[in-house]
């Protein structure tokens, strides 16, 4: 096993196997993961991030294959993270996004990594971001993150990008479904794929109707592109649309504001996670919690007041001995 610094140096100069190994280490929350991210993060931030989400079967993987080829043909270096669900029963996963990827040109510079959404070790949102940042740091200038847009985690992953693309098919149902899924607010670009099928016009009209009712005066109004990815139709316009959105963001540094908002959310969530790990664990394992649980179940006290009592009591103690080693360890990492 090579030393981690060697692996990082090689990865930064483009060694695929090393990049791959680093992604694996952060994915499973290896103890070296914090060190890896600390070394690599300063090199990231140069790439443009695109999130592609939509229901299963919308044609995302096929579209990603086409996009990668177009970006590479124009001299870009592309990183793809494709997230697929994992089995809640076995923890295993069948990651099938690569099936649609058929890139034969050796001069195309791309890196495709499949990730299972059930990797709860790190939390999907964090591990996907870290993997994407590794690819960013190691030289890719376009990062595509592909997820199935069901479930909050997957949606969060898609939202943490510069351009969010929501893909629909003619069978996506009426507009109400789209609104319910929360995708209207999230999308920067809509793509109605498989538009060789009947119903494509209907969904495009329904979407347009909904978007027309929103006041986009000073901001970006999401365009709707009709495509048939498997038939290579409409992809040029969609591709141009991606660049147009990037131009829009680069104007007035809107992209910096957007990223700042995202990082703020991320920092908050990370702090909450660290907090949970250290402090809440101590509370949940303690006596007070068990007693309170009993009291609430027996209707002697309501949950809100019980919680207040626990927290007040905990705060009035000195930092418990159990926490001190954790705090010290944090300082060394």
């Amino acid at each position: 096993m090579r030393k981690i610094d060697d692996i990082i140096t090689s990865a930064l100069s483009g060694d695929k196997a090393c990049v791959s190994r680093l992604i694996s280490l952060v994915e499973r929350d290896d103890e070296q993961a914090p060190y890896i991210m600390r070394q690599l993060y300063p090199f990231s931030g140069k790439a443009y991030y695109i999130g592609i989400t939509g229901a299963p079967g919308a044609g995302k993987s096929t579209m990603v294959d086409k996009l990668v080829k177009m970006f590479c043909k124009n001299g870009n270096r592309v990183g793809v993270i494709a997230v697929d669900p994992s089995s809640p029963f076995s923890g295993g996963a069948l990651l099938g996004d690569r099936v649609r990827v058929n890139i034969k040109k050796k001069e195309y510079d791309y890196f495709f990594r499949s990730m299972s959404s059930g990797n709860i070790m790190g939390g999907l949102s964090r591990t996907t971001k870290e993997a994407a940042r590794i690819l960013d740091a190691c030289g890719k200038n376009i990062i595509i993150i592909e997820t199935v847009g069901v479930g909050q985690s997957e949606l969060d992953v898609a939202k943490a990008t510069d351009t969010v693309v929501v893909m629909l098919t003619p069978e996506s149902g009426d507009g109400v479904q789209i609104m319910k899924a929360g995708l209207i607010e999230v999308a920067d670009i809509f793509v109605v794929n498989k538009c060789d099928r009947p119903g494509a016009d209907n969904i495009a009209h329904a979407l347009k109707g909904m978007l027309d009712r929103i006041d986009y005066r000073l901001s970006w109004k999401p365009p709707i592109f009709r495509t048939a990815a498997a038939l290579n139709k409409g992809i040029d316009k969609f591709y141009d649309g991606l660049w147009q959105h990037q131009q829009y963001l680069n104007c007035d540094k809107k992209i910096m504001l957007r990223r700042q908002r995202q990082i703020k959310e991320e920092l908050k969530r990370n702090i909450e996670t660290e907090f949970t790990k250290m402090i809440l664990r101590d509370i949940y394992d303690g006596n007070d919690f068990g007693v309170a649980l009993d009291n609430v179940c027996e209707h002697r006290i309501d949950p809100q007041n019980a919680a207040r009592q626990i927290v007040t009591s905990w705060l009035s103690r000195e930092i418990p001995a159990i926490l001190a080693p954790n705090v010290a360890a944090l300082g060394q990492r």
Binding site: S87, S90, G91, L94, L95, R98
Partner: protein
Amino acid sequence: MDRKIRVVMAKLGLDIHWRGVYLVSQFLKDSGMEVVYLGNKFPEQIVDAAIEEDADVIGLSSLGGAHMTLGPKVVKLLKEKGLNHIKVFMGGVMAPKDAHCLEQEHGIEKVYLPDTPMQAIIDGIRSKVALA
């Protein structure tokens, strides 16, 4: 939590028989492994995918006769790139003596012929993979 074994499964060359590789992929998933399914791919693409996905195992399916030419090519490419930790397994339809030859002379860990119980495949893979 135990680290999951990552397997890259592919159909060798142009052979489109899919049930075998599909079933094995499902069973491996159910046994807790992460399976990246490639569909039909050629050796260079398979090895590239194995690198990007940090695979521990490559599983190749061949029912169309390409096993003696394309199978060993995968092993050869792995050796050239210094990826000796990735184990290659094959499954499908071929003469037992070909299977034997692939195992003995061409670096294939194990060839699983028809009627091999699924559990044997799962156990076989687990036993050969040294988790780093």
